[in-house]
């Protein structure tokens, strides 16, 4: 199993009383809530944290892409990856954007990823996502064409990476007479690993598990039962194609907090995870699920489950559901060992900073996790697969 430190880079200095006046931290929250002086401090603190993960022995670090919100300050993740490329030495760098349908020219992604891959000598992991619903409002992109734009942009990028240029691309949304990206990717056998982060969708799983792709499916922020269900679905789809999915094809991303004891962990994490859940993630249905973002069938399901969505998430509810792992090293080890044995994921992406979690607690979390959780799990999973 491999361990990654994932960052969202939230605007942790957000005035949390914003929700008395605004219904979301996305799309319409005025950017006057952002103070560039504080932002300057936060960006540099967060980059330090990602670099620290390299020293602590993580296998990888992850940046991501979100637009026009206080939840994550990485609209252009390549800027972060570029800064990290030179300051880290060993870790993989996963860019878990880019949100392909949001971009007018997907070749910019082919270029950006190839540059990071070249600078790092092949430490890039290439994420491809559709972006979240709110971003179709912010970016003025039609969600009704989200799926087809994703497919086409993906095909175009793959062509740019794997076919000698110049080549021709003839699509519905994108057309190029001279696909000829310089630089070529460093990992050219056949291309950098591709990860597909998703909130959970059978269409995405079927596509990622196809034998032509075998991409790593990454389940983001979901209860452990959902994680188990979707990963089983991936394995079943793979089996249907006549091959066995490996652990390398399955990843899970979730917030985690580990401290000296269960009690200390819960006390230290509470306000910060609840700020994440109740303030930074806050958005109405109309932002979260614009028309076409998911199929009509899944939408009907989501609308029927709306009562459940409306329930306020608290530290207790997310610990209970296994959406957030929190506790002493023993507790965290035990849960992760159990989930891993049961579900069989090979990549674990932990969000060790979330919401308003301050620098000193983030570092403490990273240190305890890397010293008392990671090595143990490395051993048990290595023993099991040996």
């Amino acid at each position: 199993m491999k361990f990654y430190f994932m960052h969202l880079m939230p605007y942790a200095d957000l005035d949390l009383s914003y929700d008395e006046k605004h219904n979301s931290a996305w799309v319409t929250l005025p950017n006057t809530y952002y103070d560039p002086k504080k932002g300057h401090q936060l960006y540099n603190r967060y980059l330090d944290e990602l670099e620290y993960a390299d020293q602590l022995g993580f296998d990888g670090i992850c940046v991501n892409e979100h637009h026009s919100n206080a939840y994550g300050l990485m609209p252009i993740p390549g800027v972060m990856a570029g800064a990290l490329a030179r300051r880290t030495k060993n870790v993989k760098i996963a860019i878990l954007g880019r949100a392909l349908p949001l971009l007018n020219n997907p070749l910019t992604v082919a270029e950006e990823f190839a540059m990071v891959d070249n600078i790092t000598g092949g430490r890039l992991i290439a994420g491809m996502v559709r972006g979240i619903g709110a971003e179709y409002h912010s970016w003025g992109v039609n969600p009704a064409f989200s799926h087809e734009r994703f497919q086409e942009a993906h095909d175009l990028i793959l062509q740019a990476w794997t076919q000698p240029g110049p080549s021709v691309f003839e699509g519905k949304h994108y057309n190029f007479d001279y696909v000829n990206v310089w630089p070529r990717v460093y990992q050219d056998n056949p291309h950098p690993p591709i990860w597909i982060p998703s909130q959970g969708s059978s269409e995405t799983i079927e596509w990622a598990a196809h034998p032509d792709r075998k991409y790593t499916y990454l389940q983001t922020f979901a209860s452990v039962s959902i994680v188990a269900r979707y990963m089983k679905m991936y394995k079943d789809v793979a089996a249907g194609y006549g091959y066995e999915a490996t652990e390398d094809q399955l990843g899970w991303s979730l917030p985690l907090y580990v401290a000296e004891t269960d009690e200390i962990a819960r006390r230290e994490a509470k306000d910060h995870i609840e700020a994440f859940l109740q303030k930074f993630l806050r958005m109405p249905m109309e932002m979260l699920l614009p028309p076409g973002y998911t199929s009509v069938k899944s939408m009907v399901g989501a609308m029927s489950a709306k009562a459940g969505h409306a329930m306020k998430q608290t530290i207790d509810s997310v610990i209970e559901e296994g959406k957030f792992i929190c506790g002493s090293p023993a507790t965290v080890r035990e849960k992760l060992e159990e989930y891993q044995a049961q579900i069989g994921f090979g990549h674990l992406l932990t969000l060790l900073q979330f919401g308003t979690l301050p620098a000193e607690l983030t570092r403490k979390n990273m240190e305890i996790y890397s010293k008392e959780v990671m090595p143990y799990l490395r051993n048990v999973t290595a023993r099991r697969t040996a």
């Binding site: 409002h137 064409f145 109405p284 249905m285 109309e286 028309p291 009907v300």
Partner: protein, 261 residues
């Protein structure tokens, strides 16, 4: 209520049609919420016209064809519908997205049209006048913003939640509306250039308290279509055919009576 329902296959695409009444043909083009029911204004119009109400491809019980990507596709499809139904001198009436569609049809080919009525149509931009963001409104905001008279909104909000099938239709309608109108929002940037080609008599109807398509758009339409007349209905929101059904029918009948005299 006297109407019949049928499914028609037009150039390979199946659409659901409601029809009622006798007289000169009147083709009604619905807006974003579709046309699943025969409404009182349709019944009233059918006293003097043969009223034909299709559900656009992608809406309600009609097919959702592969070829449908934008308003232009839909406009050309309706030229096929006019041929298929053998309509001539038809009075084309469209509301909201349907009004936009009616104008898109007319700029392409108006030879089969007797007149054109557009009700709070989408499709053009007047800089500085912002359209309501129907894709961002909650169900409650939508109900409140569609009507001037909040009794209509209350009634809409008090209605029992739709069945699973009803919900599916709502979502399909919303999806097709997004396809047509998400970006640029309720706009064909080229439409305003060609509205001058419309020469059939045209009636423009607008509610004075329209929060979806503000009444500030009305004079722009009047100025862009040469042979047009503008009627503004007082104390009325985005759906005059519902909120002021009698006045709406009176205006449409009066206008058609005038132009066919």
């Amino acid at each position: 209520m006297s109407f019949t329902e049928s499914l028609e296959t037009v150039t390979g695409t199946k659409i659901r049609l409601m029809r009622g009444g006798k007289g000169a043909p009147l083709l009604f083009l619905h807006g974003a919420s579709g046309a699943s029911r025969w409404l009182p204004f349709m019944e009233k119009l059918s006293e003097t016209h043969e009223v034909i109400v299709p559900e656009h491809p992608g809406f309600g019980a009609s097919d959702n064809p592969e070829w449908l990507d934008n308003i232009s596709d839909l406009a050309f499809f309706y030229l096929d519908v006019l041929d298929h139904l053998g309509l001539d001198k038809v009075h084309l009436v469209g509301t909201s997205i349907g009004g936009w569609l009616a104008a898109e049809i007319a700029i392409r080919n108006e030879t089969k049209l007797g007149s054109l009525t557009v009700v709070a149509p989408a499709g053009i931009r007047v800089k500085g006048i912002r359209k309501g963001d129907v894709f961002m409104w909650s169900p409650e905001e939508t109900a409140r913003n569609l009507f001037h008279d909040q009794a209509f909104a209350e009634a809409m909000l008090a209605a029992p939640p739709p069945s699973k099938e009803g919900m599916e239709i709502l979502l399909r309608n919303k999806l097709t509306s997004a396809k047509l109108a998400w970006e640029p929002r309720f706009l064909n940037p080229d439409l305003h250039k060609w509205l001058h080609r419309i020469s059939v008599p045209t009636l423009i109807v607008w509610g004075d308290d329209d929060k979806a398509m503000p009444v500030g758009y009305a004079p722009a339409w009047r100025d862009l279509i040469p042979n047009s007349r503008l009627e503004i209905i007082e104390n009325c929101g985005h759906l005059p055919q519902i909120e002021k059904a009698d006045r709406f029918v009176e205006l449409v009948n009066g206008f058609i009576g005038e132009v066919t005299r």
